[in-house]
């Protein structure tokens, strides 16, 4: 680290001490070591509303202390940005971010690539191997550790851009840490919630305002809805090689005491394999019961992602799904675009949409701690062979600031920087986005996927493969679990 870097760090530590304390206080924490430990009992929809709008920030001023505003340089950046299918507001915020950065740092030349989620990982892997990676990449939370383990990433943490570790969720920080070293900074974090159509609940004789409290109950509700209305109860997703599958199935495994490894435990070692245990079996049995025994979920679950569940949901043919806070905005968009009699049906579904906590299991309530992190590649692996670290840090600071980590995740996620929750922009979000507070209140139950390089294979291939083996009855539930258990153990043995 250069002397200048050290001076910057010292300056930033002093200047952010106050705001960090404010943030720590705002999120209901106190500790002599200034460690952020989220008070789960306080983090509720009411609490999230209470702190919103209590903090003023000046992003340009904060980032100027990391990289002078007149700095001349160049940054290359890849990210999974907004797609055409996403709400217009998200696209607008993304454009505003780039405009604001160019205005704040007019002499930093940007080369930005917005890459589709399904292509970005392969493209980054290939580019890194070919020494043509970008200087910076914002990656979904699951991906970074593989690049860190392979030695592609530079050491970089919140303190490098003037923030403190306390300003980020501990689970998010865990996802950017490999063998004790920090290789990135969280940009946004989100958890999903249970969404249901209260009208279908009513039609099935269920309390329209009370979602299932446990996974056992969800299986029963799903069956009741199918029996009483003929419509699908729960939007099971079991496609292989699609992130949607583990995001919806792992919470069930964790809730019932299972998991891939011990990732849901308070202090995971990632050494113990849980995929064959009783908790995992119970979770797989739930899926089997709904798909094979009760036939209460869509038959197309094996080829579906959540996108394919959106049509039956908006058509009133599917009662419950697990999805992001943005699902409401997506449904509103769909209802707006619908025509004729479809429009009436879609609007009725939107009016009857309800958000609630994801059900509990025998052991806990849990949800995947999702989001993205920003990482910096090493000189050896980037196009041109040199990273303009100062210019790159300017972009990292800007993107992970309370202001922009809030605005960039406006409808789709939550600020990675916890101070973002206390800004006026978060208050505006809460006032304008229905159910955001409910989805946000799932954050303390968030469990990150195992922070190991093999995580992608376990989550995207082995877990969905286990589901498909059981649901197609190619294997029994026990055989599917044993098969997955063998695969995870083999993978962890380094083969």
């Amino acid at each position: 680290m250069t002397a200048q870097d050290q001076r910057v760090r010292k300056l930033r530590r002093t200047s952010t001490a106050f705001v960090a304390l404010v943030a720590a206080g705002a999120i209901g924490m106190s500790s002599a070591m200034a460690q952020t430990t989220i008070d789960r009992s306080k983090w509720s929809p009411d609490y999230v509303r209470e702190i919103a709008g209590t903090l003023e920030v000046d992003t340009a001023k904060e980032c100027a202390e990391v990289t002078p505003l007149d700095y001349e340089g160049k940054v290359t950046f890849w990210y999974v940005g907004p797609t055409e299918a996403e709400p217009d507001l998200h696209k607008q915020m993304d454009q505003e971010f780039w405009d604001a950065f160019k205005e704040t740092y007019p002499n930093i030349e940007l080369t930005v690539q917005n890459i589709n989620y399904n292509q970005m990982l392969d493209k980054l892997r290939t580019a890194s191997l070919g020494r043509a990676a970008p200087m910076l990449a914002r990656m979904p939370i699951l991906w970074g550790v593989e690049f860190a383990a392979k030695g592609f990433l530079q050491e970089m943490g919140p303190e490098d851009v003037g923030y403190t570790v306390d300003e980020f969720w501990p689970g998010a920080m865990k996802s950017v840490t490999w063998e004790g070293t920090t290789y990135g900074i969280p940009t946004n974090n989100e958890t999903m919630a249970l969404i249901w159509n209260s009208e279908l609940f009513k039609e099935a004789g269920l309390d329209p305002e009370s979602p299932p409290a446990t996974w056992d109950q969800l299986v029963e509700y799903s069956n009741t809805i199918k029996q009483e209305t003929g419509k699908s109860g729960y939007g099971l997703v079991a496609r292989v090689n699609a992130g949607n599958t583990p995001f919806r199935f792992m919470p069930v495994m964790w809730a019932e005491g299972g998991g891939a490894l011990d990732e849901a435990e308070d202090n995971p070692t990632y050494e113990d394999v849980y995929i064959g245990n009783a908790g995992s079996k119970k979770a797989l049995q739930h899926a089997y019961d709904m798909y094979v025994r009760d036939k209460s979920v869509p038959v197309s679950a094996l080829t579906n992602t959540q996108t394919e569940n959106q049509d039956p949901f908006i058509a009133g043919q599917l009662a419950m799904v697990i999805a992001h806070p943005a699902e409401y905005a997506t449904m509103l968009d769909r209802a707006r675009k619908a025509t004729g009699s479809d429009k009436e049906i879609a609007q009725k579904v939107v009016d009857n949409m309800r958000y609630g906590l994801i059900p509990e299991g025998d052991v806990r309530r849990s949800v995947v701690f999702g989001g993205s992190n920003i990482h910096m590649f090493k000189d050896d692996f980037v196009d041109g062979g040199e990273v303009d670290r100062q210019a790159a840090l300017a972009l990292v600071c800007f993107m992970t600031s309370p202001e922009w980590s809030t605005k960039l995740s406006w409808v789709i996620s939550n600020p990675g920087n916890l101070r973002g929750f206390a800004t006026k922009w978060n208050k505006e979000r809460l006032d304008s986005i229905k159910f955001l507070d409910v989805a946000t209140s799932m954050l303390p139950y968030g469990v990150p996927f195992p922070v190991i390089p093999e995580s992608t294979e376990i989550m995207n291939i082995i877990v969905p493969g286990m589901l498909q083996n059981a649901l197609t009855e190619k294997m029994t539930v026990d055989e599917a679990l044993a098969d997955a258990d063998d695969k995870v153990k083999e993978l962890r043995s380094g083969l």
Binding site: L121, D122, R125, L129, E146, A149, K150, G151, F152, S232, A238, R239, V240, N241, A242, P298, V299, S300, A301, L302, T303, E308, D311, P312, A315, Q317, I452, P453, E454, T456, E457, N460, I461, P464, G465, Q468, N469, L471, T472, K474, M475, G494, L495
Partner: protein
């Protein structure tokens, strides 16, 4: 015929050796030299690298420079794996039936379109549409049409009273491969149609007329006049379809990702999954080498058919 002792065996006229033949055609080789150099760079090196990688283990936790030499372990692991046998069987079924039905359908269409009739032109153009449409777009459309819950095919069958509930096309291990083959045949038959139509147009009309005058029936004329002329084009079409089907990726990957439970996983999707889904470049390379060898055998026969008679003409 035996040769008596003392008799002199007639010696075959020996042509120039390999070096002599190359020298004789040195100008021809110079013309193709630039193409050979480009091929060597963009094909030769990657092939070499894939073969080299196939002898290494590349766990996801290690950078490629730290790959571990394992000899032929990757090959023996693949050949012993139960999943390899399942995937190979899927690949054989996929390739054989896709090729067979695409050819039969394409040949049938070519025979029909070979005769002049009203609207033949527009119909010929319309039949080319599946071949012209992007395979990605076509796959998504078929995926929606097949959807086991809200697919239009299932709804149509229920509406007609043929089935009580929508059929499960893609989410059933028994039906998924057949459903994908239908899509593949839909996409490929126009290719066979074009090839066979071109072949049909080379059959001399005089021969047909002569055979007809000799009293040959339509079927006799087809088997004894038309088919002999189509032998080469048929072989080439079938070979190209086979190679193309062995290399198919888009349709199975987009429609099912190889699922459910690997029931539609074929060699190419398995290789892609191993390399990019599981980051096992070593074992994926070994898989690719096996596929490469199979393709080389097919390629050898393809080149032999294509160049039959060229050697003599070149002398």
């Amino acid at each position: 015929m035996a040769t008596a002792i003392g008799e002199t065996r007639p010696t075959a006229r020996r042509g120039p050796g390999l070096a002599g033949r190359i020298y004789k055609h040195r100008t021809d080789y110079l013309y193709i030299l630039p193409a050979l150099i480009v091929m060597f760079v963009v094909i030769g090196y990657p092939v070499y690298y894939v073969v080299e990688l196939s002898f290494f283990k590349t766990p996801p936790s290690l950078a490629m420079s730290e790959k571990i030499f394992v000899g032929v372990d990757n090959y023996s692991r693949i050949l012993q794996a139960k999943s390899f046998h399942e995937v190979t069987m899927n690949t054989v079924v996929w390739t054989v039936f896709s090729t067979l039905f695409a050819f039969i359908l394409g040949f049938g269409a070519a025979l029909a379109l070979d005769r002049a009739f009203f609207l033949r032109g527009p119909l010929r153009g319309a039949l080319l549409i599946p071949f012209v449409i992007s395979a990605v777009a076509g796959s998504f459309v078929w995926r929606w049409m097949y959807n086991s819950d809200i697919g239009v095919i299932g709804a149509f069958l229920v509406e007609l009273g043929i089935t009580d509930r929508p059929l499960n096309f893609l989410d059933n291990t028994q039906t998924v491969l057949a459903s994908l083959i239908v899509v593949n045949v839909w996409r490929e038959f126009p290719f066979a149609m074009i090839m066979m139509l071109a072949g049909l147009q080379t059959v001399p009309d005089e021969l047909h007329r002569a055979a007809k005058m000799d009293g040959a029936s339509v079927i006799q004329r087809f088997f004894h006049v038309t088919m002999p002329h189509l032998k080469s084009v048929t072989l080439i079409t079938v070979l190209l379809l086979t190679v193309n089907n062995l290399n198919s990726f888009i349709i199975p990957w987009i429609m099912t990702g190889g699922g459910p439970a690997n029931a539609s996983d074929i060699w190419i999707t398995a290789i892609y999954q191993l390399a990019f889904g599981r980051v096992r470049f070593g074992i994926a390379s070994a898989y690719s080498v096996i596929l490469f060898l199979v393709m080389m055998v097919l390629g050898y026969y393809y080149v032999r058919i294509m160049t039959r008679g060229d050697e003599r003409r070149a002398e």
